[in-house]
């Protein structure tokens, strides 16, 4: 019983370690497609990033990382600031 439980915990841990992360961040100042393109392209250059989606009405950028990778809040802020904008709230989901 103990062995089965341990196996389950390890399996769950491994799955979590290799799963991708979805991060939502709001961006102040992102009001047009030109702005959004700059942000999208800068995020796509990050080696941890798998895909980027922009939603202008909610001013939200959704970043999906590569399996097993993550982007820290500091890194997200750096990318948004480097693109010329100001980062808002960050929400993460696995």
């Amino acid at each position: 019983m103990k062995t089965k439980l341990l196996t389950l915990i390890i399996a769950f841990g491994l799955t979590a370690a290799v799963s991708a992360e979805t991060i939502h961040t709001t961006v102040n100042g992102m009001v047009c497609a030109f702005c959004a393109t700059g942000i999208e392209k800068t995020f796509r250059k990050q080696p941890e990033v798998q895909s980027v989606k922009v939603d202008l009405p909610s001013k939200q950028v959704t970043i999906t990382t590569k399996p097993g990778k993550t982007l820290s809040d500091a890194k997200i802020k750096e990318v948004v600031t480097y693109s010329g904008y100001t980062m808002g709230r960050i929400v993460r989901e696995k």
Binding site: V31, C32, T37, G38, K41
Partner: protein, 194 residues
């Protein structure tokens, strides 16, 4: 100096802009090398006055940006130094312009004063203001449409005040504008970023 749209793109982005209106024909090519600076080449053939040809390298700088929850305000400087030619007379050319704009998803406002010195050919001060409204709030992957109104004041030209109603379309990094001025010229502007 072609500043109907922002004179900077994103870092490592290249921007080609062309403007054809009652002041002449302009083309510029710019490369954005930092979040606040772009460097490029500016060429203009002027009309509606002295038909001056200008060729200058230019530098565009974002001086200040305000990122607001529902909008964005900017102050840019665009400056160039090169040559101006008029009827075989080649002169040094210096120009600088400031662009202040505010943009939300619904509204657009801009004001741009320009100062041009073409040696002994001409010295001039221009002003341009624009107001625009987007009737539909488009998303990132949609075609954006704006109705705009532009007023130019250029004392060195034959027509000192010119008003131009226009329509702006843009899709992602492609911008196209068409209008018709009060002195009966068709305006056609476009911009591509890549």
């Amino acid at each position: 100096m072609v500043a109907e749209a922002k004179p900077l793109s994103y870092v490592d982005g290249t921007m080609v802009m062309q403007e054809n209106d009652e002041t002449g024909h302009t083309i510029s090519l710019d490369y954005t090398f930092t979040p606040t600076e772009a460097f490029g080449l500016y060429i203009k053939q002027e009309e509606n006055g002295k038909e001056i040809f200008m060729l200058t390298p230019e530098i565009n700088t974002l001086l200040k940006r305000w990122n607001l929850p529902d909008g964005q305000g900017n102050i840019f400087n665009m400056s160039g130094a090169g040559i101006a030619t008029y009827r075989g007379n080649n002169q040094p050319s210096l120009w600088t312009a400031f662009l202040a704009d505010y943009e939300s998803r619904r509204w657009f406002l801009s004001y741009e004063p320009r100062f041009v010195w073409d040696g002994n050919i001409e010295k001039s001060v221009w002003q341009r203001a624009r107001i625009g409204m987007a009737p539909l709030l488009a998303n990132y992957n949609d075609l954006n449409t704006w109705i705009m109104f532009q007023v130019d004041h250029h004392p060195a030209k034959h027509d000192h005040f010119v008003a131009t109603p226009l329509i702006r379309f843009f899709y992602k990094t492609y911008l196209f504008e068409v209008g018709y001025s009060s002195n009966q010229h068709i305006m056609v502007n476009w911009q591509v970023q890549f």
